[in-house]
């Protein structure tokens, strides 16, 4: 009874608990997507998604075409990597990738030949409605598509027509709630037809009857563009374009699903468990490109912005373009007193050097004055228990408590307070009047917990091996003892009755006598 009552209160569409309203700073919303010239070198990391790493299948000196597969996927949660332009593979070695550790991954360096000629091996599929969803799904996989909203989870996995979890509603995520970023906005304005086609393909693939395109009300022009594109396609009357009030982090999958359907995705479950599939507009565009034009994912739209950048804008950047090259196109060549951010200001990570390449997860590049950043990162003060962080938290956690637990290495306790439900949106850190880097503490705690789990698994294996060794030694010792016993019995004089043995011993004891 109480449960039902609580549920009816909780399941209110159009709202998610918490959230913040930061200054949006979408200064590039009016800049059309530019196409930069071909860079002098492309650095393509062999893993650009969440999941298993790929294996390079090209060798140094080999010529590749644009869209040619250059690294093969291994394992299920993996998608291949393609050449961003035609040219020659000059080297394959470790290079830094956009990762907070600053560590590197093996990367394929391609020197362009300037032709930019495509690999034409994939045929265009225009009659997708007549094709088998499994075939289309395989196409999405071989085209290397991963979620371009930033999480880069292999898309084909989500596009499964599963009997146990039928998808009722497809949600196209055009929320883009991070400040500064306008790449999805521009894409919706400039390519609404392709996005509408992509949505149609996705609905055909998963067999969904309903779809919602969710856009925040600061992008009403994009909603209009999508709406008119949808009207030009047949059978799209079950697709709804919904304008939502601007609120961060509405673009997060779980929050968006809650807003649109009123259902909360349970912890450690996926949207498909409640019959929903959520795709970012960039991914939808990439899917349409892969099916309709037979083009693997070799480029994406990124927003290049920030207060240290002379000419901010949106660009269609090839994967593997060094960030230094892109920033130079926008007038930034010297990086003194500049902080580079990969992604938006809320969830983005700081880049350690500008030679890092653009990857599938790069939705924005921000060049900020160090001064601005230092203003944001003030000295951490003691927690005053004001509770603002708990109010702002979109997943109803208690950030101040969790941060205390993480700081004091009480990781198991933090886990029991649902640390892993944290989506790291940064709303708590944003509102904290004591400038506590709450999300950083959560990342530390999550990392430590992962280490503890790994250490435990390793200890279990070691214990098993040590015990196996013990039994092996015992077995070998027993086998040796048994062998010794059989050898002894074989070579020992046969136990016969006393008389004959005496006779024998007499003979052996007196060989001379015998001789005489």
């Amino acid at each position: 009874m109480l449960h039902t009552l609580l549920r009816s209160i909780a399941e209110r569409p159009g709202i998610f608990s918490g959230g913040i309203e930061p200054e949006m700073l979408k200064i590039t919303a009016g800049s059309p997507i530019a196409t930069p010239p071909i860079a002098p070198i492309y650095i393509v990391p062999i893993k650009q998604h969440i999941g298993e790493v790929c294996t390079p299948i090209v060798s140094v000196g080999e010529h590749v075409f644009r869209g040619q597969k250059i690294a093969r996927s291994q394992g299920y949660v993996s998608v291949p990597v393609h050449a961003p332009t035609s040219g020659t593979v000059v080297k394959i070695e470790d290079h830094a990738i956009p990762h907070p550790s600053g560590m590197g991954l093996p990367s394929i360096f391609i020197e362009p030949d300037g032709e930019d000629s495509h690999d034409e091996s994939l045929e265009a599929i225009c009659d997708y409605r007549g094709r088998d969803p499994g075939e289309l799904r395989e196409r999405v996989r071989v085209c290397g598509i991963a979620g371009l909203g930033g999480a880069v989870f292999p898309t084909f996995i989500k596009l499964l027509k599963d009997q146990r979890n039928p998808i009722e509603t497809v949600i196209i995520n055009g929320i883009e709630c991070e400040p500064y970023l306008t790449n999805d906005h521009r894409l919706m304005l400039e390519k609404p037809e392709a996005i509408a086609t992509g949505l149609d393909i996705i609905m055909h693939m998963v067999g969904a009857k309903k779809a919602i395109v969710a856009i925040e009300d600061n992008k009403a022009d994009a909603a209009e563009a999508i709406r008119s594109a949808l009207n030009s396609l047949p059978d799209m009357e079950h697709v709804e374009v919904r304008l939502l009030p601007t609120r961060y982090p509405q673009g997060s999958e779980k929050q968006l699903v809650q807003v649109l359907t009123g259902k909360e995705i349970p912890a450690r479950k996926l949207p498909m468990h409640i019959g929903v599939l959520c795709q970012n507009v960039g991914t939808t565009f990439a899917i349409s490109d892969a099916i309709i034009r037979g083009r693997p994912l070799t480029e994406r739209i990124i927003t290049v912005s920030g207060d240290a950048l002379p000419r901010p804008g949106n660009v269609r950047a090839r994967l593997g373009t060094p960030i230094r090259f892109i920033l130079a196109q926008h007038g930034l060549e010297h990086f003194e007193d500049t902080h580079l951010l990969h992604g938006g200001p809320m969830m983005g990570e700081r880049l350690k050097n500008p030679d890092i390449p653009v990857v599938k997860s790069t939705n924005g590049l921000l060049a900020m004055h160090s001064e601005t950043m230092m203003k944001a990162h003030k000295v951490e003060q003691p927690c005053i228990r004001c509770g603002h962080c708990g109010v702002a938290c979109p997943v109803s956690l208690v950030p101040n408590l969790l941060a205390d637990q993480c700081r004091n290495d009480q990781f198991e306790k933090a886990e029991s307070y649902n640390l892993f439900d944290c989506i790291e949106c940064g709303a708590c850190s944003y509102v904290c009047p004591s400038n506590i880097p709450l999300v950083h503490y959560f990342r530390y705690g999550k990392g430590q917990l992962a280490q503890i789990t790994r250490a435990k698994a390793f200890a279990d294996i070691s214990k098993e091996r040590s015990e196996a060794r013990g039994t092996r030694i015992e077995r070998e010792a027993a086998a040796r003892a048994a062998k010794r016993k059989t050898v002894r019995t074989k070579h020992m004089p046969k136990p016969v009755d006393e008389k004959s043995s005496e006779e024998k011993s007499d003979i052996s004891a007196d060989p001379k006598g015998d001789g005489l």
């Binding site: 990762h99 907070p100 550790s101 560590m103 590197g104 991954l105 000295v379 951490e380 003060q381 003691p382 700081r407 004091n408 290495d409 506590i436 880097p437 950083h440 503490y441 990342r443 530390y444 999550k446 990392g447 430590q448 992962a450 280490q451 790994r454 250490a455 390793f458 200890a459 279990d460 294996i461 070691s462 214990k463 091996r465 040590s466 196996a468 060794r469 092996r472």
Partner: protein
């Protein structure tokens, strides 16, 4: 008198009944081995390194459970393991004498290996493969970094290397704010009393 008799008889009957029940229970619910030792063993890192002075994690766990060993002798386990064991045993935490080193793995310089198999015999987790007069090599995925193979090698061809950090295993450090540092310092001071 009858009341007295009835009381004595009924109490004797109860005593007999409970005695039988307890006797059966002790047979039926008998636990093999020392459960405390097993619980402690699950907390240990299972490196089998012998740095605690016992020939492996299991003997050390048994020694701690029976009170022969202190709770702070596991070097690779560090402070965390010590606190967990102390919590389990219900004793006061002790200071850690030796700081755990960075995780290591053994590496055989194969061109110098003479194939004597002595290291194979020393490895507590069977993580070295090789045969007499053949090069030996370490299965890095299973090496616990216990260093027990270094000593028996007659030609000193085994090095202990720092385990390379994998990108997937990287984790965020603590924020470098002054308060986070303060927390670490305070923890250092209060460690013996914290549980």
């Amino acid at each position: 008198m009858t009341q007295l008799l009835a009381a004595i008889l009924s109490f004797s009957a109860f005593a007999l009944l409970f005695g039988v029940v307890l006797a059966i229970a002790s047979r039926v619910f008998k636990i093999e081995g020392n459960p405390m030792a097993d619980n402690i063993e699950t907390l240990l890192p299972q490196t089998q390194c012998g740095q605690c002075g016992f020939p492996g994690c299991k003997p050390y766990a048994a020694a701690v459970a029976s009170g022969e060993a202190e709770v702070n002798q596991c070097v690779p386990g560090g402070e965390r393991t010590m606190l967990q064991i102390a919590g389990l045993m219900g004793v006061e935490p002790k200071n850690i004498e030796e700081e755990p080193t960075a995780p290591m793995i053994a590496f055989v310089r194969e061109d110098e290996c003479i194939g004597c198999t002595l290291c194979i015999k020393a490895c507590p987790v069977d993580a070295i493969i090789g045969a007499p007069k053949q090069y030996h090599t370490i299965i890095t995925d299973h090496c616990t970094g216990c260093t027990l193979c270094v000593e028996p090698c007659p030609v000193d061809c085994i090095d202990m290397l720092i385990k390379p950090e994998l990108l997937e295993h990287w984790s965020w450090p603590l924020p470098d704010t002054a308060r986070a540092q303060l927390a670490i310092e305070r923890k250092g001071q209060h460690a013996p009393h914290a549980t």
